[in-house]
């Protein structure tokens, strides 16, 4: 028996169900409405576990589920050295969003990371503290800015309505995921031209830490054959 973790609500869940359904594996909710229980038809030995998308990386890392569907951004953000903990089995082609850095449109002098770095240096001199970037993607943003040699900034935690932090004067810039950019424009922000931190989409991941018994490896092989995907050695 292998366990597959799938987002428990919303478009991510529906699209995941569609993706599997198109390949002959039917995932569905079972039991009463609003009860987080699911079933899998069309293949044996696979159990559906409904989880919050944000918890799926941790469940994969702990090996409590064998497979899981979640955003590639969340895995990179939440798991240290993610390739050593999980493998990407298949990109699912939905849930597209880009993790970007955005600044006020009025910053006519800032288009690139180079500009952001220079503006941060001047900002610190003028205001006595480091330029604040609001985000919930601390690891991805910090690693990206370190690699590109941006200094004199600080990350401010923002778990929601991040685009509003600039107007509310709790941050000078933001790093967040965007799909259409509409929310950014509505909040008078523009995207830096060279700060595409990560292009995210929903991905089917495999946990290296899960208990891969002979049984579960057979179930995985059968599932992979139905889905037409390659599996790495577990």
């Amino acid at each position: 028996m292998i366990k597959i973790g799938v987002p428990s609500k919303g478009r991510l869940m529906e699209k995941t169900f569609d993706w599997f359904g198109a390949r002959g594996v039917t995932l569905r909710l079972s039991g009463a409405e609003r009860e987080y229980a699911g079933r899998v038809d069309g293949i044996d030995g696979v159990e559906l576990v409904l989880l919050s998308a944000g918890e799926i990386p941790r469940e994969l890392a702990a090996g409590r589920i064998h497979l899981g569907v979640t955003g590639s951004d969340l895995v990179r953000e939440k798991l240290a050295d993610w390739p050593s903990q999980v493998a990407e089995l298949a990109p699912l082609g939905f849930g597209h969003a880009d993790l970007i850095i955005a600044v006020p449109v009025a910053w006519i002098d800032v288009d690139t990371l180079d500009d952001l770095d220079a503006a941060a240096a001047a900002f610190r001199k003028t205001h006595g503290f480091r330029l604040r970037i609001a985000t919930k993607y601390h690891r991805l943003v910090r690693d990206f800015l370190t690699i590109h040699g941006v200094a004199d900034y600080q990350l401010i935690d923002s778990q929601g309505a991040t685009e509003g932090t600039v107007k509310n004067l709790t941050a000078e810039a933001i790093a967040d995921i965007t799909s259409s950019g509409e929310t950014l424009r509505a909040n008078h922000l523009k995207v830096l031209s060279d700060a595409a931190i990560h292009a995210s989409q929903a991905v089917l991941f495999l946990s290296h830490a899960a208990d891969w018994t002979a049984d579960s490896q057979m179930a995985l092989a059968a599932l992979a054959a139905k889905l037409h995907i390659m599996v790495p050695k577990t």
Partner: protein, 369 residues
């Protein structure tokens, strides 16, 4: 499994040995106010140090190294000159999986002394070299001198703004290199910058800001205009002259035994006269090291050694390495004169120090016996 008892015993023994050589043993708090460290290191330290929140004292940090608290103690009223030794655990988050511990013991020595800085440099290096040898370890030393690089940048025939930009990124080799490539005309102006300059040439910054849309945020219109003006001025700054740029590139990649490196630097000093005082200090340090019994003919020198973003060294730098390149340095240190000014609230004193990773040293000693 690490033997933390053995690690602590060795660390304390190393500090005791430093005190036998004339150092005063000092203690430092494990729980430190985060503000000073955050101010010094920025976001980088947040990724590496353990932070916690105290209901009264605010953000606190588990000691990531001894240097900052020891400097603060000294600046608050230490003897002048002074030599300190210490031993205890430090805490660093490991962002990668693997067997590097996030809590480990450091034993170290710091010298605060105004005269003959090269003597102090040599003394710290020689003390660490000798205690490693006494314990049966023959490690590979590497030395460098960030002061030479800084002097070369300060001596460039270009605008102060460009020099400041290079100096600010001296510890970030990739960024430094990108700036140098641009300032010397080796890399083309990025398309986005060219586009921006074209727009700035057409309208006043104030008009452009007004046209851009609704103004938001704390960074003021004036700050934006000041930088826009700076960009326009910088676009008119001519590139570094080719021979000067070539010398700087040459300097960045200089790796040679110390005496050969000195010979090379003496050779380029007439074309880059600003480095002469720093090269003189390098020469004096080599003599001081030789007087301490260090073989300076073979001592490896790398001009770019020690340029990592978490450090604050601005002169002599050194480290000692085991054969396995996956291991962190067993010992490392350097001169940090500017740090004492930052922490000294107007006062400063030249300082140099070094630390030994006692746990790693114990492991290597165990492997050998």
């Amino acid at each position: 499994m690490r033997n933390t008892g053995q690690e602590r015993v060795l660390s304390d023994r190393l500090a005791a040995w430093f005190t036998e050589q004339g150092a005063t043993l000092v203690e430092a708090d494990i729980l430190l106010p985060a503000e000073t460290l955050l101010d010094l290191y920025g976001e980088d330290i947040r990724a590496r140090a353990y932070m916690t929140l105290d209901p009264v004292q605010g953000e606190m940090m588990l000691r990531p190294d001894f240097t900052v608290p020891v400097v603060q103690q000294h600046m608050a009223g230490g003897a002048d000159p002074a030599t300190y030794a210490y031993s205890g655990p430090v805490f660093r988050k490991q962002t990668h999986r693997g067997d590097r511990p996030s809590e480990y013991h450091q034993a170290g020595i710091e010298i605060f002394r105004r005269d003959e800085p090269e003597e102090s440099d040599a003394r710290v290096f020689a003390l660490i070299d000798s205690v490693l040898r006494e314990n049966g370890l023959s490690l590979r030393p590497v030395t460098g001198d960030i002061g030479i690089l800084m002097a070369a940048v300060r001596g460039l025939a270009t605008s102060d703004r460009r020099k400041q930009a290079l100096l600010r990124h001296i510890w970030r080799p990739q960024r430094f290199r990108a700036l140098l490539d641009r300032f010397s005309g080796r890399a083309p102006l990025p398309a986005a910058r060219k586009h921006l300059l074209d727009r700035l040439a057409k309208g006043s910054p104030a008009d452009l800001i007004a046209q851009a849309g609704t103004f938001t945020g704390l960074r003021s219109e004036e700050e934006i205009m000041v930088r826009a003006q700076a960009l326009t001025e910088d676009a008119q700054t001519p590139p570094l002259n080719a021979p000067e740029a070539a010398l700087l590139y040459d300097l960045l990649s200089l790796q040679a035994p110390s005496r050969a490196a000195l010979h090379h630097l003496r050779g380029i000093a007439p074309m880059l006269p600003a480095i002469t005082p720093a090269v003189d200090r390098f020469a004096a340090r080599l003599d001081a090291l030789a007087a301490q019994g260090i073989a300076t003919e073979t001592l490896p020198f790398e001009a770019s050694h020690g340029r990592t973003s978490l450090e604050y060294y601005d002169g002599f730098v050194f480290s000692f390495h085991a054969d396995d390149p996956a291991l962190p340095p067993v010992a490392s240190g350097g001169r940090y004169d500017a740090l004492t000014a930052v922490l000294g609230q107007g006062r400063s004193i030249p300082a140099v120090g070094g630390v030994i990773r006692a746990g790693l040293m114990a492991r290597l000693m165990g492997n050998q016996s």
